[in-house]
């Protein structure tokens, strides 16, 4: 190598070195990060195996629908009408009814949790039914320690009694108004259909926030950040170089999860794939931004994981409307959910899967996600300096 070429090389190096943003350097960092992500089995596990596990879990294990609830039916009255009512209980698919003649038999089972409730058809049932002016009484006992199930038992039991009553005699006053409910978007009220789109939001939060926070903290912990900071690479290049691969990973995971949801779990995709991808891409902005912000505050993997868990994962789980409906929350908690980006994503996902491309809904949510994401990025940029101070 002669002196002249050395000189040009030095000048070249300096020229590139002094450029604030150099696409070649960025590509080098992206390539490096991709290699690392591909070689780390835990990354692939989180991106591709975890979504499958979560979807399976929400599809089969977690169900908010009460079906085949175990109840007892106590027939203290031996009459024919009582028999017919009892038969109505065993006929519905909502109940798995067992029969008894003494309430003491079932009371113990309720205490031990074998039954979630029981219905008592009292001895004077037939008499009151026959007598004009009096209504027969049926008692419903439910397990208040499972409030949700208790509600179901009560309502379903009420329904069973009413429909039995309606078909019983012409003498009874016909009901003035008959309610005919229809459940839109999810006619069979299958909670799986509402849960699986939400699960995708959880997966994206884990990849976007948790994984990003961990990989940046890992660079600090292992001392590799110090070496990279001492090169001409700028903060923007280093950070974008970190985020791009995880953005791609998040999108791939979304596609995979969506394909699984539609093909295996029978969730309809009524909107367009393009809308789904756009929504996911925009959601990655606050998710990655949050991960970045966490990692700039904590340079320790353990702490970063804890913060990501409490500020990213748990809110996405509990405050996004994924499991618990936001409208049912107290006003203060409702106000807090406005800051949870997953909330907008869950709503959008439910819409795009179950309703279709409803752009007014999307626009509102996209805007909110972009705004929160922008805020995270501004904060993260402020907290990151190109030195070790």
């Amino acid at each position: 190598m002669n002196a002249v070429s050395q000189r040009t090389n030095l000048d070249e190096a300096r020229g590139a070195g002094l450029r604030r943003f150099d696409p070649k350097r960025l590509m080098a960092l992206v390539y490096k990060e991709s290699l690392q992500a591909l070689r780390d089995p835990s990354t692939l596990l989180i991106a591709f195996v975890l979504p499958v596990v979560l979807l399976l879990l929400f599809a089969y294990a977690v169900s908010l629908d009460a079906k085949n609830v175990r109840v007892g039916v106590v027939m203290e009255s031996p009459g024919a009408s009582a028999q017919a009512l009892a038969a109505a209980f065993s006929g519905t698919r909502y109940f798995d009814a067992s029969f008894a003649h003494d309430r003491r038999e079932v009371a113990d089972k309720l205490v031990s949790g074998e039954l979630r409730g029981y219905v008592v058809i009292p001895q004077d049932f037939e008499r009151r039914l026959a007598q004009r002016g009096t209504e027969p009484l049926v008692q419903i006992i439910t397990d208040g320690s499972y409030p949700n199930t208790a509600n179901y038992v009560e309502n379903y039991a009420r329904g069973v009694v009413q429909s039995w009553r309606a078909g019983l005699d012409v003498a009874a006053p016909a009901q003035a108004v008959v309610l005919e409910p229809r459940y839109w978007f999810n006619p069979e009220l299958e909670s799986r259909r509402a849960l699986i789109p939400g699960a995708i939001a959880i997966v994206m939060t884990i990849i976007g926030t948790m994984l990003t926070a961990l990989v940046v903290a890992r660079e600090w912990e292992r001392g590799t950040m110090e070496a990279v900071l001492s090169t001409p690479a700028s903060v923007a290049e280093i950070l974008i170089g970190k985020l791009l691969p995880y953005f791609v990973l998040g999108m791939l995971a979304t596609l995979g999860a969506a394909a699984l949801a539609v093909s295996v779990f029978d969730v309809p995709l009524r909107g367009s794939l393009a809308a789904l991808l756009l929504l996911s891409a925009v959601f990655m902005v606050p998710a990655l931004g949050q991960g970045l912000l966490i990692s700039s505050l904590s340079r320790n993997q353990f702490l970063a994981a804890q913060i990501a868990l409490f500020t990213g994962f748990l809110p996405a789980f509990m405050l996004s409307g994924f499991l618990f409906e936001i409208d049912a929350m107290p006003a203060l908690i409702r106000a807090i959910t406005a800051l949870v980006p997953a909330r907008y994503f869950v709503e959008s996902l439910k819409t795009v899967f179950l309703a279709g491309d409803i752009w007014p809904v999307f626009a509102r949510n996209l805007l909110a996600m972009a705004a929160i994401g922008g805020l995270f990025f501004v904060l993260a940029k402020r907290a990151t300096r190109k030195n070790l101070e």
Binding site: R14, A28, P232
Partner: protein, 591 residues
């Protein structure tokens, strides 16, 4: 090795004579901790400058300021003419920096790491294929380009770090403790590489806590507690000590008591054991009469020896500690049934198909100081851990004071004291709680327990620190505390795993004073170390290389084995390199 001048840096003529780095009145503090105090110095092109000082002297802080990774509180620094704060971007082009911790990606291969750094420094790896070839040749990493960086040995990692720092030909190369965790053979390679670079006009800064490394630099900046103590060629400082260094030759078995006596003399400022001899440094202006009298009394020859950089360093810091160990004074002499305290026969440990320790056998006498030495990955830690019952041997047997480690691990453990690397004290407990915990863990109760704890507190002078946390202690006190905890149950055998790594020379001397005292009371001491001069304290040294025991003898005999025409008086390090290399040759010949 063929050293090629790969990294021709800035044109020599333009920069010759001007300083590569100018440091003016730099102060740096972290909270209330003052890391650097009004430091001013210059570093020149074409020269290897050593940044020398014990741990916590401020070396890394200064390095990070030079690379623009930390901002000084006051004062200014320029590197290659650029201000490190204002022209931060230019600094990163003009300097190559190798952090103290391996800063490369362990899950990327050698080549991938090199490509990444080439691109980050704005170089095209395709067009610079010949530079890559040269760097690989220079670092001798050519055969390992596909290997993951995490699978490299300590020495090869440092060479890779050097190759990456050399990308794009920096004018100033900053190496933060490149010699740590590197065995002497690889260290030799690093020196040769750096030599070639400075010959080419590059300014190289090499920070180190090893004083023998400092001696090899052309110029040194000597730091202690953030203050610059000396700036100039190391010989200049050493010359001030001329005529004050002596050696009591061939003292033999009595050398420990001779050292104690010598150190307690008012005219002696510093002393260490060197093989069978005792090396002493007299105080400034002191008379040779006292030490001569000691030599006459013990009937040994007193010879004047050339001063070392370490002598000068200790002298600058006010001399070493006294020779009597208050701890050892209190200990009752150790009584053992057998003269053999520790023994192992055909000790072997395999991890999968990797053999970490291969059929190692030796016996250690009661009261002996026995050293285990070896390059990184030679298997000394594994051997050590099997001997103190922390690892189960795959084959072979080991005994500690008569207890078979395969069967009576618990009984053996109660008869040995163990001081782990980096002291392993409980940071969230106070000093007293640490002492109480170790007393409790060794089953001391009631009166004995109170008595022992009080004894340790008075012996090690920990009274003022009882409610402090170990981390807030000065290093010397921290080491005393760790030693106190491992000696709480008065074990007849003491295991020390790299006890003085990262400890300044004064603290190290104080530590060895205690160890010498313990050995004189009959405590058997097993020690691993990578400080070659510390191996001199040992009665016998076992050298391990590639899982096998390649030599076992007294330090003097090991040194004698390396004598050659061009090396009439080899150091422990020379002996080490010689033995490892000839063992490697034998293995290759056998293969």
């Amino acid at each position: 090795m063929q050293v090629s001048p790969v990294v021709a840096t800035a044109p020599k003529s333009a920069d010759a004579g001007t300083a590569a780095v100018v440091i003016e009145g730099v102060d740096k503090h972290f909270g209330s901790v003052q890391a650097l105090r009004t430091l001013s110095a210059r570093i020149h092109y074409g020269r290897l400058t050593g940044l020398v000082g014990p741990d916590g002297a401020g070396k890394t802080t200064l390095m990070r300021i030079l690379t623009g990774l930390l901002v000084p509180n006051t004062g200014r620094v320029t590197l290659a003419g650029y201000d490190v704060v204002r022209d931060n971007d230019a600094i990163h082009v003009a300097s190559g920096y190798m952090p103290q911790r391996f800063g490369l990606y362990e899950d990327l291969s050698v080549m991938e790491n090199m490509r990444l750094y080439a691109q980050l420094r704005g170089m095209d790896s395709d067009r610079n294929a010949d530079l890559f070839a040269e760097l690989l040749d220079f670092t001798r990493l050519g055969p390992f380009t596909m290997r993951l960086a995490g699978k490299l040995s300590g020495g090869m990692k440092q060479k890779l770090g050097l190759a990456c720092a050399l990308m794009a030909r920096p004018k100033v190369l900053l190496l933060d403790e490149p010699g740590v965790g590197v065995d002497p053979v690889s260290r030799q390679d690093l020196w040769r590489m750096v030599q070639a670079l400075t010959d080419d006009g590059m300014a190289v800064v090499w920070s180190t806590a090893y004083l023998d490394e400092a001696e090899r630099c052309e110029s040194v900046l000597l730091l202690n507690q953030g203050q610059l103590l000396f700036d100039g060629p190391p010989q200049e400082l050493t010359a001030q000590l001329e005529g004050r260094s002596f050696r009591l030759e061939d003292v033999g078995a009595g050398r420990r008591s001779v050292l104690t006596e010598a150190l307690d003399l008012p005219s002696v400022s510093d002393g260490v054991i060197q093989g069978a001899g005792v090396r002493v440094v007299l105080r400034d202006g002191a008379d040779v009469a006292q030490i001569q009298a000691l030599a006459d009394r013990t009937q040994v020859h007193l010879a004047a020896v050339p001063a070392r950089f370490e002598d000068a360093f200790i002298d600058l810091l006010g001399g070493g500690p006294g020779g009597t160990s208050a701890l050892a004074e209190r200990l009752p002499p150790v009584e053992l049934d057998s003269e053999v305290a520790v023994s192992c026969r055909k000790l072997t440990k395999r991890f999968g198909d990797f053999t970490a320790t291969d059929s190692v056998s030796f016996e250690v006498q009661k009261g002996e100081i026995f050293g285990l030495l070896g390059p990184n990955g030679a298997g000394k830690s594994t051997t050590f851990k099997m001997l103190c019952g922390l690892l189960k041997p795959t084959a072979g047997e080991a005994h500690v004071v008569g207890h078979d480690l395969r069967r009576a691990t618990g009984a053996a453990k109660s008869r040995l004291g163990y001081m782990a690397q980096k002291f392993s004290l409980y940071g969230l407990l106070s000093v007293r709680q640490n002492l109480e915990f170790s007393a409790g863990v060794y089953g001391l109760e009631g009166g004995v327990r109170r008595e022992r704890i009080e004894e340790m507190i008075t012996t090690f002078d920990l009274g003022d620190w009882l409610s402090a946390t170990p981390d807030s202690l000065p290093l010397g006190h921290k080491q005393r505390l760790a030693l106190a905890c491992s000696l709480m149950h008065r074990p007849p055998v003491l295991f020390l795993d790299e006890p003085t790594s990262g400890v300044d020379p004064i603290t190290r001397r104080e530590f060895w004073t205690h160890i010498n005292g313990l050995a004189r009371k009959g405590v058997t001491v097993m020690v691993t170390t990578h400080f070659m001069d510390e191996a001199e304290y040992c009665d016998r040294v076992a050298m391990l290389s590639r899982a096998r025991l390649i030599a076992l003898d007294t330090p003097d005999a090991l040194k004698r084995s390396a004598v050659s025409p061009e090396r009439p008086d080899p150091t422990m390090e020379d002996a080490f390199i010689h033995l490892v290399e000839s063992a490697d040759r034998e293995m290759e010949a056998a293969a």
